[in-house]
């Protein structure tokens, strides 16, 4: 027979002012199985806990009910307390008398009645509780970082510096991401490449970091501490073990295609190293452009490679690896404004460019070696219009969110144009100017002082007249239309998640928000965790942000990963499903309900009369099960049940509430 102790907390006056706590404790005494009941001012306090421990000893209690605040608040506190007694920490139920009773009701009699009811429910449930024990699973002391932009690099470096092995998987031939494309970074105007390339080199040279460039994550299985990841290595057609990165092949390749790195403003060969400071600084062959691979002609690179590193018969390779934790840092792309804004020319005018194209244009290592010229005719522009919020804050055509970095980089672009082209004029069409960051407002002020003209309003049309781009917009402060004759237009286009984000999210079993940014576990208190244990996120895959925020988040994610990898093994929650295999009919209905693929059918020896046979039964992988209980309701024989929330326990709760 169960010996239940009931402890009703006053919570100062929080509960006691509305609920007659003494009456509740008195009523609890007559509930079935209750051996002891009392009330106290603060159960969670040191003396409160001491009192419970004493009562457990004196009255030989084997399970307890605490009527207090929400179990989300103090369930762990009281479980820890029970660890110090001879009662199992899971022989505990909490009746929520504060958040769901005292705080939401005013009528003392009715609230007291409800409180008694809630305590009766918990008493009925705890009577069916069984001692549960946590188990330990070993941890693979290795992390996977998906994405080799500044977020991924920073996270990998921090994890590696803690002494753990890290693998970076990057889909492009080089790590570096978007940051390495940028010219200067606001508000300090330090050169982006000068601060990001040393980090790329560090990541490439770090003894604990393995770079897997031109690779993608193919599939992920397993769970925190023990993920099994299949990595797909795309065909490079160049043996990077032999290649020294001399670059001879690049210079001789006869094919020229549009350079992704220079945002389409220059050409690159079919065998290419994407940019001079690439890490690893070794080429890959673009199989869609290479003459040898498409038409079986040419073959020059193979002939001239002094090391024989070219291999046209290269194949996609898959490798399986174990990881203890995963960091997602897949970053962003700029939204395609051409479809969203046909009124801005829809891509017909070469001199209407995006912010990222301007970054390449103004970059000393870019296609024009840093000279700001019009892509159409190579002339220096005198009048430049910058249009902000192209796609951002425009739910009808683009995205509803603010892309956060555009206000600042637009101010930076204006500053750079005014600085580099004497006598130039810059007009910035804006909705609001948002500068929430250290030194940002000052930077914006300086840009205005430099002479940038801020016009509050949207641009309705851009069209070409002779040599000029006519920008028609509205000055909403003066309430009248504005026309600017511009030589070049820069669009501050919206950020959006990397194109294959859905695939990544699906493979990892994490979730996205309505705009396809990866959903964090809690927007304030768990900003770098995902809903899946052991998978973290950082950088712009979570939402638009600038470089300082990205780097801060990357280090935060690294700290979270280190906190897992520093242990040899970890405790798992015992509140998971288990199968009574003697009752299981092997129908397999539970298998597809599990979001974690934790249930599988296994063959076990059984009997059919006197005959020995093998039968199929369900089995739960304790490491994978997260304890949702979805499979329980699918089971026809009721043999699969969630420990801590068994069908019996809940039926007892239902019965008690209906008394």
């Amino acid at each position: 027979m169960a010996r239940i102790g009931v402890f009703i907390c006053h919570c100062g006056t929080n509960i006691a002012s509305v609920v007659d706590v003494e009456k509740v404790a008195q009523a609890a005494k007559s509930m079935p199985g209750v051996a002891f009941a009392t009330d106290y001012k603060y159960m969670c306090s040191e003396p409160g806990q001491a009192m419970i421990k004493q009562a457990i000893e004196e009255h030989h209690l084997d399970r307890i009910v605490i009527g207090s605040c929400s179990p989300r608040m103090h369930e762990l506190t009281f479980r820890k307390m029970l660890k110090a007694t001879n009662v199992n920490p899971y022989m505990l139920e909490i009746a929520n008398l504060r958040e769901q009773c005292a705080w939401v009701h005013t009528d003392r009699a009715k609230a007291t009645e409800k409180a008694i009811n809630l305590v009766r429910m918990s008493v009925a449930k705890v009577g069916n509780n069984k001692p549960l024990h946590t188990s330990m699973i070993p941890i693979t002391k290795k992390a996977l970082v998906i994405g080799g932009g500044i977020a991924g690099i920073q996270a990998a470096l921090d994890i590696a510096d803690c002494g753990f092995d890290v693998t970076i998987v990057e889909k492009e031939p080089s790590i570096g991401g978007h940051m390495v494309m940028l010219d200067k970074t606001f508000p300090t105007m330090d050169c982006s490449a000068c601060i990001s390339t040393p980090k790329m080199v560090d990541a490439g040279a770090h003894p604990n970091i393995t770079l897997k460039t031109y690779c993608e994550v193919e599939s992920v299985s397993g769970y925190i501490g023990n993920f099994e990841v299949t990595i797909k290595e795309k065909t490079k057609f160049v043996n990077h073990d032999l290649c020294t990165g001399c670059g001879l092949c690049q210079t001789k390749c006869p094919t020229k295609v549009i350079s992704e790195f220079n945002q389409g403003m220059s050409k690159r060969p079919a065998i290419y190293i994407p940019f001079a400071q690439a890490v690893p600084s070794k080429p890959v062959i673009d199989e869609n452009a290479c003459l040898k691979l498409t038409k079986d002609k040419c073959g020059i690179c193979e002939k001239i490679c002094p090391l024989g590193a070219i291999n046209y018969k290269d194949e996609v390779r898959y490798t399986k690896e174990q990881f203890g934790a995963i960091v997602v840092a897949t970053g962003y792309e700029l939204a395609d404004w051409k479809k969203m804004y046909p009124e801005y020319g829809g891509g017909r005018y070469e001199d209407v460019i995006t912010g990222l194209q301007f970054e390449r244009l103004v970059n000393a290592s870019g296609p024009t070696e840093g000279h700001i010229v019009r892509p159409s005719d190579g002339k220096e522009p005198k009048d430049v219009v910058i249009v902000k919020c192209v796609g951002s804050r425009d739910p009808k055509k683009g995205k509803s969110y603010c892309s956060r970095a555009c206000c600042m980089y637009s101010a930076k672009h204006a500053h750079q144009i005014l600085d580099k082209i004497p006598g130039s004029r810059v007009y910035i069409f804006y909705m609001d100017v948002r500068t929430p960051g250290k030194g940002y407002e000052e930077f914006y002020d300086n840009t205005r002082r430099d002479g940038a003209q801020y016009i509050r309003g949207r641009v309705s049309k851009i069209y070409k007249e002779d040599d000029k781009l006519i920008v028609k917009g509205e000055d909403s402060l003066l309430g009248r239309p504005v026309t600017v004759e511009a030589d070049m237009v820069i669009l501050a286009t919206a950020m959006e998640p990397a194109p294959k984000i859905e695939e990544v999210v699906q493979k990892l079993g994490i979730s996205m928000d309505k705009d396809k940014w990866i959903q964090e576990a809690h927007p304030k208190l768990r900003p770098v965790e995902t809903q899946s244990a052991g998978i973290f996120l950082c950088g712009t895959c979570q939402g638009p942000k600038d470089i300082p925020d990205t780097v801060a988040q990357a280090s935060a994610a690294a700290a979270k990963v280190a906190a897992i990898l520093c242990h040899d093994e970890m405790e798992t929650s015992p509140m998971i499903s288990s199968v009574d295999q003697t009752k299981c009919s092997g129908c397999g209905f539970c298998v597809p309900t599990c979001p974690y693929k934790a249930i599988s059918l296994v063959e076990v020896p059984g009997r059919d009369g006197n005959r020995k046979v093998t039968k199929k039964v369900a089995q739960v992988n304790e490491g994978l099960c997260q304890g949702c209980g979805c499979c329980n309701a699918a089971c026809r024989t009721g043999c699969i049940d969630l420990k801590g929330f068994t069908n019996d326990q809940i039926l007892k709760e239902v019965d008690a509430l209906c008394l």
């Binding site: 009701h105 809630l118 429910m121 809903q531 304890g627 949702c628 979805c630 809940i650 239902v654 209906c658």
Partner: protein, 159 residues
């Protein structure tokens, strides 16, 4: 059984709330000191998909006047897909109950996130008023199904 016209009569409503969304939302309602009727009792479950149709039938059998199943918004389930199962199971069970003469208002599913304290309050108030208007539930009440009898019969059959 005739429905008593008693103005003091309070319905008995059971609400199965998932731990991650609705239970948190209910806690938040408390934190914000929102007020709602006392006649709703919350049973905490890890996920709304844990709610077995058996729990609902048992509640009506034991005299509950209404049952609510609450979980995260579809697409936002803490366990990715749990509430999709809840939604389908709910649809079926609601129709089955309606076929058996239980007003669909007595058995409802609501999606309330952890931040929607006001929605929790409004839902409870609304459902409570609806069920109060319907009067007490007398379907299934007292319909007793004794498991032990069946088990004994099954054992007897073996001999």
């Amino acid at each position: 059984m005739s429905i008593k016209k008693d103005n003091n009569w309070e319905p008995r409503i059971l609400a199965f709330c998932c731990n991650w969304c609705t239970y948190t939302g209910a806690d938040l309602a408390g934190l914000n000191r929102m007020k709602y009727p006392e006649n709703v009792r919350v049973i905490r479950v890890p996920c709304s998909s844990k709610v077995n149709p058996q729990f609902v039938l048992r509640a009506f059998q034991k005299g509950a006047d209404g049952v609510l199943v609450c979980g995260c918004h579809p697409g936002d389930c803490h366990y990715s897909t749990g509430n999709y199962f809840t939604r389908r199971r709910f649809m079926l069970l609601q129709r089955l109950l309606e076929y058996n003469g239980i007003d669909p208002k007595r058995f409802q599913a609501k999606w309330i996130s952890g931040s929607e304290a006001a929605k929790f309050r409004d839902t409870v108030a609304e459902v409570s008023a609806q069920i109060k208007a319907l009067g007490p539930n007398n379907k299934f009440v007292g319909a007793h199904y004794d498991n032990t009898v069946m088990e004994k019969e099954a054992e007897g059959g073996k001999d």
